[in-house]
Subunit: 632 residues, 2 copies
């Protein structure tokens, strides 16, 4: 048994109620490390091409990584993956919190689910055992009620419950999965996949201890990390203002997505800032398993938008998506929209972008009051935003169309609505402006799961950040608006590095080059070595990151995606309307050159975007090559 | 100043007698690390394309690496590089011994020499200073006499003297450079480049201390290494039998190059073995700076082949080249031939292969007694071998033609002699049989300096060796005769790893996966970190290895080499005539497929073999791209 893992993977077929426990050898774990790569292994090996994401054949995978459950800051994340109903690509979404570690304490590195239950069910996984339990009585419930009911039923109030809300049940294409009502596997519509399987929730509880190869080293690292977090200078700490700490600086830089990405600056930014939240509705802070950074918010919104603190509080992404992007300056309304998303099980980013899309349609008279149940959907109308969230979750009125995401909704609406649909491969663009952080242009275009901000550290890297990535090579700070070869190289390295985090189950906040990073690149290697006992190197680790990127790309190619799908919405090729970056745009030529360079750097064919056979063999996943040949 | 370096590079123009000391910033040292990569930097930046290797414009570079001079086993090597007169490619050759560390103690990381002295000179480098001194009186002298004369003149008997012998002066295309008469920068004819510049020797002496970032860690590693060497099991130790320890096992495997690569087994192998040497002529063992492995031999050959112990003793390569490859079983004669090579300054491998070539020509009546000053040049004629070494060194009779190396000699001789010329790109194939260690097929064909056995660990990797390269990825043992995708991957990784050693100045014997390895992959990183203080990773280090390979390839492309030059002698596509591998050959199709895979893995264009622009940018040597464009 490799240290740091449970060495058991749980396979559940909801159609047959068949349950199987699979064991793999150490080289399997070493090659994939967990999370993203592990999930892709099953998706590539088991899922047939061109399956409808809502078909029982789709796989839904909950995968921890080697780091998940190590008692150190940020070592608590897990991946949920499936073929995404939002994008038809590889779908993935990560959460921290407590579910991942608990799954390992319950004896499993991962759960691979297929089939569809005849009637709603939930899984109860506890200390090496699994039960498929009826969920008809919790079906239709919001996440809090469902979670509480299930906890009572399994007679363990400390069970961690990852549940979908009504939105997932209704197959909203950007429905998410929440555990403990506030830790979201937010993106790619994986909650809808769960809904399509009639799976309301997974409850886990475990008391098994993870064995590590070098416990003393982990204790030493824990002490070191505790002090490092304590010593963090105030402004860099995510404790004080949470992820929202970045909102005002981004606004200052002219990079706060505003009014559906028309503007780079929001005149009411202060009112939706982390600072404002701390002064007004913040009533607590929360961290994830083993982590003292405490970046999570607990809020209580005020009249007329009272909120339930059990649903947590808005992140930066949520504040921007429901705030600046919709032109909304009412922090209480935003918190309320956030609570609705967590209660109904909706991704706040996609929901906000979808509403902002509808707003721009309204402002351009493509949607009218009649289309909108009488809503006056101007930018800035907070009440309308709140109303629309609920309509989307319930698929009521226009909500039924918007629940399909901006790509499908814009096609259905027609009349030129497509140009207001800010997405890549069907996934709504998150709250990071590629026109001023241009590595995001490549990130969004090439991310295997559509527009995603978690594929790489963003740019505008300052000297201090650049020093932190020195262990990967010699780098120098590059301007955010630059999109030449050095930017592509930096992106490629950080892309592999971040992909590695998604295999390991490590939070991107605690590792360099994030400004609040606790661990250096070399320390992350020490962590993995201490956990597993492997004399592993950053070379091998980064290659796993690259392996996962390549596997994901092969998955998409098998699904029919080509390099023509590696695009950006037209909006980003047009100048920003306001803010300090006013006038800045992405040059199509620069973008195309950057893409080509990136393909070649990654060992992808320039004409087709398909990873070369040699690259697959080099990454020790030659079997995918045979398999791609069959598909073509 | 970066720790571990002197930060000074000495530039000497022998034509103008201009001397310059250059300083580079820390990022330069970090990007190139030294040795191979550093030398290539100067060759690419300073040398114009298509210069005659014997022209004054050629650069001759002595380059240490970051590890050179660290008081640890195997940290003593340095690179000599130039455009090679043997191959017209990048020429490189490494030596251990004491010269490299001494150069650093004298205050210089490297010496870059250009121009041609009007009359013979030598350089005297001591504690930060350099003098160009007349050498007319030592010109023509064998290495021992020249070394002794120079030491007396500079009034320092502890000066390290790297000298050429008469062969280098006479521009024998495989003349070498020897320091202290026995540590050879053997291959690629760099001694002839030195001769072409009228440079007889470089004497160095230094008393400066190298500063390291973490002296305690180095002391700790030194203690650890001393014990590790002490604990090495006998059979794996190179102390007992030197490099010749591999001779009998290779013969057993059918992989001892015999009779110009016709045979894989030599019936008199025992008589030329390390074991036999230890029983007969061995009178001492010697190590390099800081190294307790003591792989070097000191011998005293017996009548009629008395030898001078100051010239050391034969390595495995020499024993096989003058022994089995020429069918010679007389250890005394081989030792004598070895001494002649060290006295005249000849590469023992190229000399032996050239003589074996002439022998096969003789056996096939392409050369006759008349051509050979009456020598009966049958395989096995030890006396004739000894005679020919001297004739080559002095360019006497047939020796004048053979002094050009087998490629040129075979063309000159004609009459079908080409098929007996076992070389790649003009460099004679060393004593490792690619038909049974098939990764060598790719190594020989793609090595930037022609057939070379130091570009990668050879294959037939056993379980124990494979475990040692685990820190780079998951590997499994592969049969020596296998030449598929997994072999190509393993070769690629080891190729980068060994290229890194040549940048660092580390002996390949002390690092994994060599059977007598002292240091693991991770420990090598610890060494570099302790020396420099950089939080460097194996990723960055291996990328430097890859960078150097890529720079060397670009150098060759600029000189007009194409993928058509990445070939093997026909002999290796024909079956081995004897031994346990009898009948084994390289399949042309497998070889071509392997080459293609390797190109693609390395980011080289499949059609042209030229590194892609993206690869150059990825390796942070984009400037070479502009420069290749100009050349094309």
């Amino acid at each position: 048994m490799p240290y740091g893992f449970t060495s058991k993977i749980l396979k559940v077929d909801l159609s047959t109620e068949n349950v199987e426990i699979k064991k793999f050898d150490e080289s399997f774990y070493r090659k994939f490390l967990g999370g993203r790569a592990l999930a892709l292994y099953f998706l590539l090996k088991e899922l047939k091409p061109n399956v409808d994401p809502f078909s029982p054949e789709n796989r839904l995978i909950f995968a921890t990584g080697v780091a998940t459950g190590i008692p150190l800051p940020g070592m608590n994340r897990y991946c949920v993956a499936a073929k995404s109903p939002l994008t038809n690509t590889f779908g993935e979404s990560y959460a921290g919190g407590f579910f991942g570690p608990e799954l390992k304490f319950a004896g499993f590195d991962a759960v691979v689910i297929e089939g569809k239950a005849e009637e709603p069910v939930y899984l109860w996984i506890h200390d090496g055992e699994v039960e498929i339990k009826k969920a008809t009585h919790v079906w239709g419930q919001k996440t809090k009620k469902a979670t509480e009911t299930i906890r009572r039923e399994v007679k363990d109030l400390r069970a961690r419950v990852a549940a979908i809300g009504p939105a997932g049940e209704k197959l909203v294409r950007f429905a998410n999965i929440l555990h403990d009502m506030k830790y979201a596997n937010g993106r790619c519509g994986l909650g809808a996949v769960m809904g399509s399987k009639n799976l309301k929730a997974i409850a886990v509880r475990g008391t098994q201890k993870l064995e590590f190869a070098d416990k003393e080293k982990i204790v030493e690292l824990a002490k070191w990390a505790a002090k490092a977090i304590k010593d963090m200078p105030g402004p860099h700490s995510r404790w004080k203002y949470g992820t929202a700490a970045v909102l005002l600086p981004l606004n200052e830089l002219g990079l706060l997505p505003t009014r559906n990405f028309l503007d780079g600056e929001f005149e009411y930014a202060e009112q939706i800032s982390g600072e404002k939240m701390a002064e007004t509705i913040l009533i607590g802070r929360k961290g994830c398993y083993g982590c003292g950074i405490m970046c999570k918010r607990i809020v209580r919104g005020k009249h007329p938008y009272e909120t339930d603190p059990d649903y947590g509080g808005p992140e930066y992404e949520t504040l921007a998506a429901f705030g600046s992007l919709c032109g909304v300056s009412d922090l209480n309304a935003i918190s309320y929209a956030n609570m609705l998303c967590n209660a109904y099980g909706l991704d706040t980013i996609s929901t906000g972008v979808t509403i902002a899309f509808a707003m721009e349609c309204y402002e351009n008279k493509i949607l009218t009051k009649e289309d909108l149940n009488g809503l006056e959907l101007k930018f800035g109308n907070a009440d309308a935003v709140v109303k629309l969230v609920e309509m989307i979750a319930k698929r009521e009125g226009i909500g039924d169309i918007l629940a399909e995401g901006v790509m499908r909704a814009s096609k259905k609406i027609g009349r030129g609505a497509e140009k207001f649909a800010i997405h890549v491969k069907g996934k709504e663009v998150p709250m990071h402006e590629p026109r001023g952080k241009k590595s995001l242009a490549i990130a969004y275009a090439t991310s295997p799961c559509g527009a995603d901000h978690m594929q790489s550290a963003h740019d505008t890297l300052f000297e201090r950040d650049v020093k932190k990535i020195l262990p990967l090579g010699v780098f120098k700070p590059l301007d955010g608006t630059y999109l030449g070869s050095e930017k592509v190289r930096m992106f490629m390295y950080l892309n592999m590095w971040w992909s590695l985090f998604d295999c390991l189950g490590v939070c991107k906040f605690v590792v360099t080059p994030h400004p609040v990073a606790v661990f250096s690149i070399s320390q992350l290697r020490d962590v993995v070595k201490a956990a597993t006992g492997w004399d592993i190197t950053i070379w091998e680790m980064l290659k796993t990151g690259e392996r996962a990127i390549t596997m994901a790309r092969c998955f998409n190619i098998r699904e029919g995606f080509t390099k023509n799908d590696d695009t950006l919405p037209e909006r980003f090729f047009e100048p920003l309307r306001s803010g300090s970056m006013k006038g800045e745009k992405i040059s199509k030529k620069e973008f195309e050159n950057a893409l080509k360079l990136f393909y070649e750097m990654m060992g992808w064919n320039l004409e087709t975007g398909v990873p070369t056979e040699a690259k697959l063999y080099e990454l020790d996943i030659g079997w995918i090559s045979n398999f791609l040949k069959q598909v073509k």
